[in-house]
């Protein structure tokens, strides 16, 4: 009986990857806070996660080796969305720095949460292997 990492780790490894991606997108927003005509983007995390969880209920048929039955296909699950600014600025920039900072920090905390879950999954596997 082989250990199937995908089912052992659940959603958490994908969530961690997506949190890392989102950190990049938000950092890019903040980096371009002074760029004229830059439009702030974000990941619709819930939609991507929903796409992930759906695939558990109704797996796709895999007819080739490269077919993946689960997740991160943000291409289809959720494209990057554009933010609607509360206070549009004169130069067409839609980055609101304080909001982006709040989201970035929140994303970092949730990254740590996903990490904790993943870490405890690995700890569980380790203790199962050791059998102590």
């Amino acid at each position: 009986m082989a250990i199937n990492f995908d089912s052992a780790l659940g959603v958490h490894d994908d969530a961690l990857a997506l949190r890392g991606r989102r950190a990049e997108v938000l950092a890019n927003n903040i980096a371009n806070a002074d760029t004229p005509n830059f439009k702030a983007r974000d990941v619709d995390f819930a939609a991507v996660l929903a796409g992930q969880l759906d695939s558990y209920e109704l797996p796709l048929e895999q007819t080739a080796v490269r077919h993946q039955d689960e997740f991160l296909s943000p291409d289809t699950a959720a494209d990057l969305l554009f933010r609607t600014p509360h206070q549009p600025s004169v130069d067409g920039n839609t980055v609101e720095l304080q909001e982006e900072m709040a989201r970035y920090t929140e994303n970092a905390i949730r990254y740590q949460a996903s990490f904790q879950f993943l870490n405890s999954k690995f700890k569980g596997l380790t203790s199962a292997i050791k059998g102590e």
Partner: protein
């Protein structure tokens, strides 16, 4: 690895803000550099920021739509089109035949506001880098 891209992104923003601080310093230093003709007078310099687009070869196959850009770059540095300040100072050694000297079109108040904005943006990007560092360090402890 997406988290290490955050370093590039925040780094590019810090570089761009440094260029902005540099132009501000240059403008402030030359705010009173008079000259006797319109062409020779110093004009305020401003950087133009632009989104640094992702090169196609950098784009990972499966995350194509999740890569909006790779930070910010300074596209060019333009000279301000604002009118120069003419002053009638016949005793000035740089005065032209009519007794006028030309002052640069540097707006000192605007430059100060620009300087504060640039240094705040720099700080925020340093914070972003720090948070990304903590996230990466934490990831390295996975399974310990």
């Amino acid at each position: 690895m997406s988290l290490s891209n955050v370093f590039d992104i925040a780094g590019s923003a810090m570089t761009a803000q440094t260029v902005r601080l540099n132009t501000t310093a240059s403008n402030m230093a030359n705010a009173e550099s008079v000259s006797s003709s319109e062409d020779e007078t110093y004009r305020a310099r401003k950087p133009v920021f632009a989104l640094k687009a992702v090169q196609p070869e950098q784009m990972p196959e499966d995350y194509r739509s999740l890569v909006p850009g790779q930070g910010v770059q300074v596209e060019e540095i333009v000279e301000s089109e604002a009118p120069l300040r003419m002053a009638y100072e016949p005793n000035h050694p740089m005065a032209d035949e009519q007794g006028y000297v030309y002052y640069p079109n540097v707006n000192v108040v605007e430059e100060m506001a620009d300087m504060i904005s640039a240094s705040r943006s720099f700080q925020i990007n340093a914070d972003i880098m720090n948070t990304a560092k903590q996230m990466l360090q934490r990831t390295l402890t996975l399974g310990q």
